[in-house]
């Protein structure tokens, strides 16, 4: 039972990831642009960037821990 609300967010998250990676297919782009308000994509984008920052901080902690030992 794919709940349209949930997979909407998931799709937006996946598109945001694709954007940060820098590659996106034409088909996904058509889907993204035809569905829902851009606001959802914007908010997911900001959320993904926050996740990106958190993951880089963890990466730094990991690097320090590995070397610090």
């Amino acid at each position: 039972m794919s709940n349209p609300k949930k997979n909407g967010l998931l799709k937006a998250a996946f598109s945001a990831l694709a954007a940060m990676f820098g590659v996106q297919s034409e088909r996904n782009r058509q889907e993204d642009f035809s569905s829902g308000s851009p606001l959802r994509y914007l908010l997911t984008g900001v959320l993904m960037v926050a996740l990106f920052v958190a993951s880089v901080i963890l990466l730094v902690r990991l690097a320090l821990m590995l070397a610090g030992g």
Partner: protein, 370 residues
């Protein structure tokens, strides 16, 4: 004409390739383990970029030559291929991840806090450096000694033009040196390429870096943060000496300071004061008041015929010792010893037509500084 023109750019950029000795093109591997590691990082990322460049520009020039309309090339109709795009994004990603690991290792090594053998406080002033050996009560200024005539092209330029100072920073070889950076006025940055040390000296804050010079020799660097008029004229000279020579230098320097203090008690004639005063003036004061004593109108007051230089002696001494708040006049009392101060004030009162005949004795300066 069009055909041969496209050869022009290659000849153009070829002309700048090394021909004579003065064309050094790369960073120095330097004299410390860290600087060699940085050199290796630099060359690795450089060759990676060259490799990627060759591939990308190769494909590009290939298609420029072969897919030209004038050669009858027909445009294909593909304009999307996600798999290829993912591939050419992943490859640089992987290369960068591989590059990040040694870079992180070197960076972490650079932030190593183990104890140092010698701590040196480096303070940036407007347009000179001050070195203080903590715990050894050695404290001196290091200013540019390239004469103004060379800078203004009236005399031929020396070998170390703009990279020579009166008192270089002397260090022992093989020891860990810990630098503590701060500044007196604006932000400066202390950089010696051979030690791979570059840290900003910020007023009101203290920064640290370290180096273990492994070969003795003379290493030159420059201030690398814009700090006003004299930014290009405050070089850094580090002399790394074997341990025995270093200790000898420490002893000589301490002895010299004592002798300096003693000479403050001797009697100095007017001529001796003026002659020594001219040297001190040209190194320290000419930067603003100019060697001619005319200063720069609207910027720095002229000393020739100035009310201060001709007026009350104590007022003149006070302004040289304590500087003038709100202007660029620094407190030279903390920067020069009693003999230099007495000599430079006497010179200012007797040069460029100010022949007041006054002579200020070093004893007078020490008395005022009590």
């Amino acid at each position: 004409m069009i055909k041969r023109v496209w050869l022009l750019p290659w000849i153009g950029s070829l002309v700048s390739l090394p021909a004579a000795a003065a064309w050094d093109v790369n960073i120095t591997p330097g004299a410390t383990a860290i600087s060699r590691e940085v050199y290796d990082l630099h060359m690795t990322i450089f060759w990676i970029c060259v490799a990627i460049g060759v591939v990308v520009f190769g494909v590009m020039f290939w298609s420029i030559i072969h897919h030209r309309k004038s050669r009858g090339a027909e445009a294909r109709n593909f304009h999307e291929n996600t798999a290829v795009e993912i591939l050419w994004t992943l490859i640089p990603f992987v290369i960068l991840i591989a590059m990040a690991i040694p870079a992180t290792a070197t960076l972490i090594k650079m932030y190593d806090n183990t104890d140092a053998d010698i701590d040196i406080q480096v303070t940036g002033y407007q347009w000179k450096w001050r070195y203080q050996y903590l715990g050894q009560d050695i404290d001196f200024f290091s200013s540019l000694t390239t004469p103004n005539e060379q800078i203004d092209n009236e005399a031929p330029k020396g070998e170390n033009y703009l990279l020579e100072v009166d008192h270089p920073l002397v260090l022992p070889v093989g020891k860990k040196i810990r630098f503590l950076f701060t500044a007196n006025d604006v932000i400066h940055s202390w950089w010696v390429p051979d030690l791979a040390v570059k840290k900003d000296a910020i007023p009101g804050f203290i920064n640290e870096s370290w180096a273990i010079p492994e070969e003795s020799g003379i290493y030159r660097g420059q201030c690398t943060e814009l700090c006003g008029r004299g930014h290009g004229f405050m070089p850094i000279v580090v002399e790394v000496k074997p341990q025995a020579e270093f200790e000898q230098w420490l002893a000589d320097t301490r002895e010299a300071t004592v002798a300096q203090a003693a000479s403050a008690t001797e009697e100095w004639s007017l001529e001796q004061l003026i002659e020594h005063g001219e040297q001190v003036y040209n190194t320290t004061c000419a930067a603003c008041h100019q060697a001619t004593g005319q200063g720069i109108p609207g910027a720095f007051p002229a000393l020739a015929g100035s009310p201060v230089a001709l007026g009350d002696i104590d007022a003149h001494i006070n302004i040289v010792l304590h500087g003038k708040a709100g202007t660029a006049m620094q407190a030279f009392g903390a920067q020069l010893n009693a003999v230099d101060l007495a000599a430079v004030i006497t010179y200012e009162r007797n040069a460029w037509g100010n022949d007041t005949g006054d002579s200020v004795s070093p004893q007078r300066i020490t008395e005022l500084q009590q």
